[in-house]
Amino acid sequence: MPATTAMPAVAPVLSKAGTQIRLTDVVKDYGLAVPAVDGVSLTIEPGEFMTLLGPSGSGKTTTLNLIAGFETLTSGHISFNGDDVSSLPPHKRNLGMLFQNYALFPHMTVAQNVAYPLRERKVPKAEISRRVAEVLELVQLPGRDDNVPSQLSGGQQQRVALARAIVFGPKALLLDEPLGALDRNLRGALQTEIQRIHREVGSTFVFVTHDQEEAMSLSDRIALFNMGRIEQVGSPETLYKAPETLFTARFLGDSNVFELDSAPGSTAVWQDRTWTVEPRTVSDRARSSSSAALVVRPEDVHIAGAADAVPPGASAAPATVADVQYLGSYRTVVLTYAGGVVGRARLDASETQLSLGQSVVAWWRVEQQRVVSR
């Protein structure tokens, strides 16, 4: 895949203004034990790249299908720019959609696939061929007009699907794990592509994935789903640095998790340790919750040989070294804390050698710990 150094100057094919998508108390119940989507409210701002992230079965794909109109709401409302579309059939919603398996029409050529939505809209022939050429240029796939999808690679097929989904100027683009079927390198190239097109056309993108790295690198904001509900909405940085719940902390990146027996006040007590807690490191949900946990990211954990080497004021916990993984630019040290709690520290590769089974003291600065609800 060619790197995108020179961006082709192409007229916008998505509606530039972007569309606000608002979900209000959305419920989808298939009559199973728990509703697939259980009261989701979310406002996606015009031009925003919003990712619906979550484990499989968390309701993120169902939510996307509800926005697209493929599923009917059990209750709640969905509106685009303030217009209620809750009962509008999918072919009238004017949204572009990318699917994991591309969903190109196998009996049509590339050009016919891309022209499909334009023919549906009775666009004049000359205009169709102009816009097809234009959009194929935008996705960097010119000259393949007369190929059928089976003659293209997976990455090329997804580019055709992308061209087809944006050529008619939809209100927003919905992406249902579009990179899931591609290998790692290709996925990176297409991520760049999607990001570039989002930047260039400034339209609203709603992206569904279970891959947290993909979500972190692409999104303006992430809505993290868990069991049919939204666990937390925020920028990738907010979700990583200031998780509200243990689920969020665990889903995005590694954490050292110390489950607390009681809600923390100015100190947190874990086993025989007592740590100072700064009020601003306590999440809102933890404040109102009866059970909490203290989490620390691996890159914030330092390792000292003995307790007297820990700087004053820092939180510390004794641990034994269970494993050391060399990963080039850094090392991951797997630690076992008291009570068999497993955690990780990320150290510079140049730092002193640690031997397996060695007793150490893990420590971190109080402002880098976070108290979340669990």
Binding site: F105, Y116, E120, F168
Partner: protein, 281 residues
Amino acid sequence: MTTTSEVTAPAAAPARRRSRGVDAVPWWLRLVVAVGALYFVLPTLFVIPMSFSESTTFSFPPKGFSLDLYRNFFTDPVWLTSLRNSFFVAVVAALLATVVGTAAAVGLHNLTGRLARLARTVLMISIVTPGIVIAVVVYISFLKWHLVGTFAGYVLAHAAIGMPFVLVSVTSALSGFDSKLLRASASLGAPPLRTFARVTMPLISRGIATGAVFAFVTSFDEVVIALFLRSPTFQTLPVQMYNSVTFEVDPTIAATSSLVVSAVTVVCLVPLLLGSRRKNR
């Protein structure tokens, strides 16, 4: 759909595997197949030479060579009318069976519940029901509805027995159909009927064509129901053939049979030829 697309690139590998498979067929298996095929085809092979006979009675081997029997067939209005009746009944019945069968197959495609299974079974039931039972039932109800001996009566009865063949062939064509395409088409602005015309139908057209051919042939050579429904003013070719041997012993039937065999063979071969040509492209 995607699986077939991946196969196209390394086409050489599967082809080689296939040819090796052909080589591995042992001679005795070929013999069994040949004997079996001969057993099915032999009666037909007898009738064709007989149709060129000079004699006015049935005899084998045929005496001399003449086209008299064909002349009889194409000049006798009774034969020609029944041929025309059969043809139009078969065309309309096949059309009806194809529309209904395709609609049923598409409708049942995404249903998995017990009710859908039941519906599928009920729709297939006429394949396993003895022809005479269907004929009697059809006759009794059509008497009541004044459909006996009418064009509409033949069409309805023949469409009903042809429909399961369409259901089967369209259902199997749909098994390779990716239903995500329907969502893709909807998201691109096509209402359901347009989606069916532009996406579903082109992709299952071979299944539809196969079903239509089967429905046509089923109607064209159907005799049991046709015997019950016949009237002095309207009868189909198979009924006329039956009459010609039971009442008058007319050797014209040899020519008629040869014509029917050739016609049906051609109709059945058309989709095969079309299919292989498409595959070669």
